[in-house]
Symmetry: C2
DNA sequence: ATAATTATATGATACCGATCATGCTAAAGC
DNA sequence: GCTTTAGCATGATCGGTATCATATAATTAT
């Protein structure tokens, strides 16, 4: 039925977006092509007009997730002092909302243990994404004149990812919140930010 | 064929052990009952004489993993000064060997993102296990007279888990090792241990 | 020796997933 | 108005999985 020229491109984008959310929520193995397409009002058959395989889709989706994240990071920094911007990103990352919304959050935390089991195409996208994010973090620490900004960034990013992983594992809500709270204070102190 | 009285118990144990390794290596969804049993020279049918369901097995396997870990922790502390013992556990955790042997390593790092998607029975086992491990960590920090040992323990455990997660995600071996190295130095410094 | 029992094996069922060959439909181009 | 075509739908295949009913063989109890 001859849609306009960009129709297919838009559909493609929507599939990737939906996949990015579903993969973070349920893991790369538990999302079926059929259920994914049906969420967009489409059927499973058309899928292979857009992607060569499911692995292809997963790889694209991963890049999409990291783009989302970089945008969130930039949004925190925009229109604020670097220190304040960094603090707001830390608060955002270690928030209850982020804990409870895996589908929209950091792919490293959402897919931590899946990465190592993924096909190489997907792993490469991950590697690039992680690098970009820690580099961005490092840049801000440089502006703040922290010594050894790369090392501090690596350490702090690790703590943030680990704390979110553990907070999501804990079913006891109070305990889980305490872990996030602790991490928030720790991380901010370690990067030399006042605790709010 | 009427084996001796403990035969079934031993088989049960072996299944759990094998499952604990396979689950850490490949994730809870990618281990089939059939392939698991065949690794022990058995077939898939007998499985349900030992477990009510796969979920049951997974839950048992998780507890088994944490018991393994507690033993590793105790082994590091045994026959050494608390400070030295702690340092050796940190070195062990953030080692290349641990990175490359997910099947025998820390379940939190191996199954990070799987936990949140697991059935409640499994999540409860996880919760208990994490609590025990951080408590054990806290105890050592108390002996070392660290201020706020609980908070420091939570922070340091989070960094260790996060660093291992990221190190495993990175395919570039040099970069991955650098991340582990950085984390080792950071963590030891933060708990007041000399860097070796 | 025979019967009962126990750990495991065999085989079947039912379901779900990725992938692919082919069909349909409506607009584009003539 | 007819043909072509792009985007998607239908329907089938194939492989994998958990689960369960039933069979088998080796012991032990009688």
């Amino acid at each position: 039925m001859r849609y306009d020229t960009e129709h297919k491109q838009r559909t493609h984008e929507k599939v990737v977006q939906e996949a990015a959310n579903a993969i973070r929520q349920h893991g790369p193995d538990k999302i079926g092509i059929a259920s994914l397409m049906s969420k967009l009002g489409l059927t499973h058959g058309g899928f292979y007009a857009h992607f060569n395989s499911k692995d292809d889709l997963v790889a694209e989706a991963i890049s999409h997730m990291f783009e989302d994240r970089m945008e969130a990071f930039r949004k925190c920094l925009a229109g604020a002092e670097p220190a304040e911007g960094l603090a707001s990103y830390i608060d955002l990352y270690l928030s209850i909302r982020h804990r409870d919304r895996r589908d929209k959050g950091c792919p490293v935390a959402s897919l931590a243990s899946d990465i190592a089991r993924m096909p190489l195409v997907a792993r490469k996208r991950f590697e690039v994404g992680i690098q970009h994010l820690t580099d961005a973090f490092t840049d801000v620490l440089k502006i703040l004149d922290k010594p050894q900004p790369e090392i501090l960034a690596a350490s702090v990013v690790a703590e943030m990812v680990g704390a979110m992983t553990i907070a999501r594992a804990i079913t006891n809500s109070d305990l889980s919140e305490r872990i996030l709270d602790t991490a928030r204070r720790n991380v901010k102190e370690r990067v030399g930010l006042a605790n709010t």
